[in-house]
Amino acid sequence: MKAFRSMVLVSSDPESMERGAQDVFSALQKGLADFGLEEEISLSMISDVSKSGMDPLVLVYPDAVIYGSVTPKDIPHIVEEHLYKGRVVAEKQIPPYDLTGRVAWLSARKGSLPAENRIVLKNVGLIDPENIDDYIINDGYEALGKVLKEMTPEETINEIKNSGLQGRGGAGFPTGLKWQFVRAAKGDKKYVICNADESEPGTFKDRLVLEGDPHAIIEAMLIAAYAVGADEGFVYIRGEYGLAITRMQKAIEQARAYGLLGEDIFGSGLSFNLHVHAGAGAYICGEETALIESIEGNRGEPRARPPYPTTAGLWQKPTVVNNVETLANIPAIIRNGAAWYKAIGTPSSPGTKVYTILGNVNVTGLIEVPMGITLREVISIYAKGMKNGAAFKLAQTGGSSGSIIPASLQDTPMDFDSYKKAGVSLGSGALLICNEDTCVVDLARVLLNFFRFESCGKCNPCRIGNQRSYEVLTNVSEGVGTEQDLKDLQMMSDQLYELSNCGLGQTAGSPLRDILAHFRAEVEAHTKLKVCPAGICKMSGRRVYQID
């Protein structure tokens, strides 16, 4: 590789692009050429994990200076002052601690604030995702080398089992156990699938990993393939994630060119071919059996289970399906060992969790923190408090299939076990934080609107239950709801949970259950007093849906 004295990176996630990152990049190219610095300073675009409001970012290394809200007009000055003369342009600089991701770089001390701990997002925003060498320099493919040279497939599986890693897609199933099932399953052909159909509203962690560190996913899938005995894999990326799709395709080509994908990789006997499959717009395809149907060229309708994909998955062959975030943990676990990983997080839920913080808070964005921190800590430390000092009312976790968390649970440790005991779910890691101006009936209505559209329609409880719940909620929000309507909502929530075929239907009713359990008085104000306490619902007194 060529040696550069400095490295300049421009954030190129969709949010930055929308704010003119491309023009900033062009201006930098021109600026560097004007001063004859092209041979000394490298320039690349990177995906970035930044707080919104500051994009696009320009990062200068090794100085570790970050410029925020950069426009093309700022560039000549930055190039001349900083890159040419070596003087930092203070007025465009943003303090590192203002970046959500950066809070974390404070080292973790016992008894101190829970510091951010980057495993999944280790490279995101720091390396050029379109350059395999950048990944390799940052310990890339080291874990693959380790398993191929030093470990048997069984030892690899045991290492993952001992680490306690649980699936990060929402269900929290132990990853090592899943691998073991597939290894044990009989079959001449096995598959590894990366579930990158991230569609939970409010969740975009997987997109940032795919855009910012695609080789980590390839490496993890290679390790999985070695462990379970698979020779072919698919990365199923939702169709809307255009940048992620092209970056992943490019990464696969580079890995193939380096002999990291293909036949008999490095003479190890492991052969693995990897394909990208772009989704076509269907939330349900995040459900693993629906995803498999979709790859096969069918409607994305979930299958009846059992048999599970571990024994009869893609084309009825044993198949591992792992979420992007789950896979992104794998190389680090292999490199550092299971004991290292288990020391992070809580005993029952080791490791870190990536959250997307959204809603009525001062700082929105992505954080990766050890399992077990509380909602109160997230809001006060990482989100820097509620916007305009408003009171916290509720948080909605894990996109639409998460739970509505009332203020009374904001000191419950956020890990799979503690949340389960409290009757709520961590879901996929979105945290939509809402203030007092949020009406729970309106929120539940929006969530149910999502489900009635995204239900695949295969089973009745989900197809009819979501539509009917939406209609009842609409009537409640118009001020024509009755006591019976609330009973019906409770009933439909229970039936969705008990009777639906797949996870979508089973969780779709949880907003209904949550608002009736935690915000009963507010809901009853709509039906009994015909008042929306938050002042959001129309309360027109007009019956929108006639329900018999």
Partner: protein, 159 residues
């Protein structure tokens, strides 16, 4: 906007070329439908019939797949397709008012195409750019932090 194939171009011929490129295995159906949708703006009955012959799949199967996925359309759409995110994070960030403004500005409701074939107005589920909600996508351009008063200016960018 996707590059539109001009009127009169042979749909069947293009479909045959796509099947040759991708192969006729069933797993290629969705990628091929993606391409047809991209080139023509929608998937016509004629395209479905030709695909059925080339891939030896029932037309009913192809139609059921084409109508299942949100990014595929079996109806012609306007020259510009607006997708407005109606998921909770955008809603909480003020999306409702933007949506009302969009409808009144275009005089269209959800799912409708304007009479001059300029606009199709759709809602969509989360697009994964929630950090800058409310979000809408026109063709392939993403607009974030949209305020109702910006809507006319944004629409004015399109011919």
């Amino acid at each position: 906007m996707a590059v539109r194939v001009k009127e009169g171009q042979d749909v069947r011929k293009i479909v045959r070329t796509l099947v040759e490129q991708h192969g006729s295995e069933k797993a290629e159906l969705i990628p091929i439908l993606h391409e047809i949708n991209g080139q023509f703006g929608y998937i016509s009955d004629e395209a479905i019939k030709e695909l059925s012959e080339q891939m030896t799949l029932p037309t009913s199967h192809i139609y059921s797949v084409a109508t299942f996925y949100r990014m595929l359309s079996t109806e012609p759409r306007g020259r510009h397709v607006i997708q407005f995110c109606e998921s909770a994070p955008c809603h909480v960030a003020g999306g409702r008012l933007v949506w009302e403004k969009l409808q009144s500005e275009l005089n269209l409701s959800k799912g409708e195409t304007s009479e001059d074939d300029k606009w199709t107005l759709l809602t969509t589920s989360c697009l994964g750019v929630c950090g800058v909600g409310p979000v809408m996508i026109i063709d392939n351009d993403i607009y974030g932090n949209v305020a109702p008063e910006q809507v006319p200016d944004i629409l004015g960018n399109y011919e």
